[in-house]
Amino acid sequence: MRILILSNLYPPDFIGGYELCCAQVAEGLLDRGHDLKVLTSSPRTPCPTQGHVSRLLELTNCYDPFSVSHCQPHTRQLWDARANLVCAHNVQVLNSVCEEFQPDVVYLWNLVGLGGLGLVACLQHVGMPWVWYLGDCVPRLLCSLGERVMPAVADEFSRQIRGYYMPVSERVVTEIETGGVRLEGQIEVMPNWIRGQRPAPRTRYFAPGETLRIVSAGQMGWHKGIDILIEAAALLKARGHRDFCIDLFGKVTDPALPALASQRQVEDCVRFLGQCPQADLVERYESQEYDIFAFPTWSREPFGCAPLEAAAYGCLMLMSQSCGIAEWFVDDVHCLKRPRTAEAFADAIEHILTGAIELAPLARRGADCIWRNFHLDALLPRIEEVMVEAAGQELVAAGTPAEAYRLALLGEKLAQAFIHQQAEARAHAWAA
């Protein structure tokens, strides 16, 4: 098949798991002999050239916290409109690439920042089939300006947009639909995955009396519950435990978090170790450096690739009971799920420290389950089937690519006009 992948970012320019998964599946599809092209944005820092990757799209400045926090509300709204609703430039680029590459199907990933709604509308208009991998509530985000979903836009999305969706968890679908955006078409929940060769069985698991080595990796932010780990460490120390350590890998998004570790006097057992390349992390897991992957993330976590990866190498997943990845595993069989509080996490760790919970059986079962059901090689055939089905639809184009571009230009200017109008009306109201 000829597959065009559309993603706002693409490694080595990435922020999180969504883009990494995109690159992994692209490589997997290439290995299986498909003709594949990735269309993504100009990188935020220089990137080496990759033959199948075209970095031609404009990414609107929604991921730069400094710019976002230092701009006027009016400017921010204009950026949101261009990031979520429509960017005519990107519609034209998409048209050109489709004309040149002639894909059988377009595989959509994260479209935030690209004027995603306009891109999907363009594909619909020209009758191009698509499959949309939803690693987050992207359709809802695309129908929003700022935090607010625009009901009229959500209604139009629900009415008009129809295709194949692959959300990574049920909560992604729920979050989209509670925003007033209905997903019409085929929906098949598809988890994230791991790759690589299964290593030899782990030889060493934690036993009471040893030092329990806990790790967490990803964005070091409040939404990932890093504060909960810090508070849990403080509770454990207060209860007299010293035989544990928590290593944190990833970019710290709020300096208040390391400061919290100081305030709670747990700097000796909670270490912020900065960013670590994914391959290096895997090496550490393979070397059996850690016993537990702690994941006290927020309930709107779509999935969570990081704990999956660690658990594949025998780290026990200790996760929030309500999050995306928790939908795929059974508590006390493959993992431990707990309420998202410092007390609950401290209790779980304490039970492992004392032997009340035996870590090894849980970790083994978790790893077995992951290698059997969550390896990309096991999932790719199903992904291909969905794409073949999507490509086989008899879609009737509503118009030409030129028309789609003209409509995108119109949509872009109407959005700008409306935002200016709102700003004027606000200024007028204040003056009055």
Binding site: A121, P151, R406, A425
Partner: protein, 217 residues
């Protein structure tokens, strides 16, 4: 043949001015002419914007529907409504009568996405308009002129209807007067002229909707 539903987009802003009342009256007569002449009948909704939502039956088969404006725009021609998508969704055909308003531009976008038939009456007005800048008339299935059409490239398959006779938009809005506001306003078409124009439009609509029915079959 099922009853055709037609949306007329364009009441020059909204309000209580005599000019606005004349324009509404003209469009109502036009719509009535269509309803009388359309085989199988039709229902026409005149869409306009205002502070509050409202519906009013002007004549049998002709209803004026006021949609609440999203923002209190200084210039009524800039106003749009969040209810446009729902208002247009059920129409078989959308006729843009004042192409120089934001509402009309939005209506073209929505109607095209809905795969609805689009007619545009070109008034050769470039005021405040993305129509000229983006050549939005090329998206229409039919363009109506009140005088000789301009010699510009048209979309293949696009119908052109020329309705001879005097029609000056300045009769309804002095902004469009040659000589600017304050110049003597020309006379609007009579009710009879409006109804005759309506019956010509009915033939055009019938043809467009029949073409759609053939394609669907």
């Amino acid at each position: 043949m099922p009853l055709a539903k037609i949306a007329f987009v364009g009441l020059l802003g909204s309000g209580d001015s005599p000019e606005w009342a004349r324009w509404q009256d003209y469009l109502a007569q036009l719509a009535w002419g269509v309803v009388e002449a359309m085989p199988g009948g039709c229902a026409i909704e005149l869409l306009s914007l205002g502070k509050m939502a409202r519906r009013e039956v002007l004549r049998p088969g002709v209803e004026r529907r006021t949609l609440p404006a999203a923002v209190d725009a200084r210039d009524p021609l800039e106003a749009i409504s969040w209810e446009y998508p729902a208002a247009l969704a059920g129409a078989d055909l959308v006729h843009i009568h004042e192409h120089f308003s934001r509402s009309s531009e939005l209506a073209v976008l929505l109607a095209k996405r809905n795969r609805q038939m689009i007619c545009v009456t070109e008034h050769r007005v470039t005021h405040n308009s993305l129509f000229a800048e983006l050549e939005l008339s090329k998206l229409a299935d039919a363009v109506i002129y009140y005088d000789r059409p301009p010699s510009v490239a048209r979309r293949v398959g696009q119908a052109v209807e020329v309705i001879p006779g005097e029609f000056d938009l300045a009769a309804f809005d002095s902004r469009f007067a040659v000589g600017g506001e304050g110049a003597t306003a020309p006379q609007p078409p009579t009710a009879e002229q409006a109804r005759q124009t309506g019956s010509r439009l009915a033939r055009l609509y019938q043809k467009l909707l029949a073409d759609v029915a053939c394609e669907a079959a």
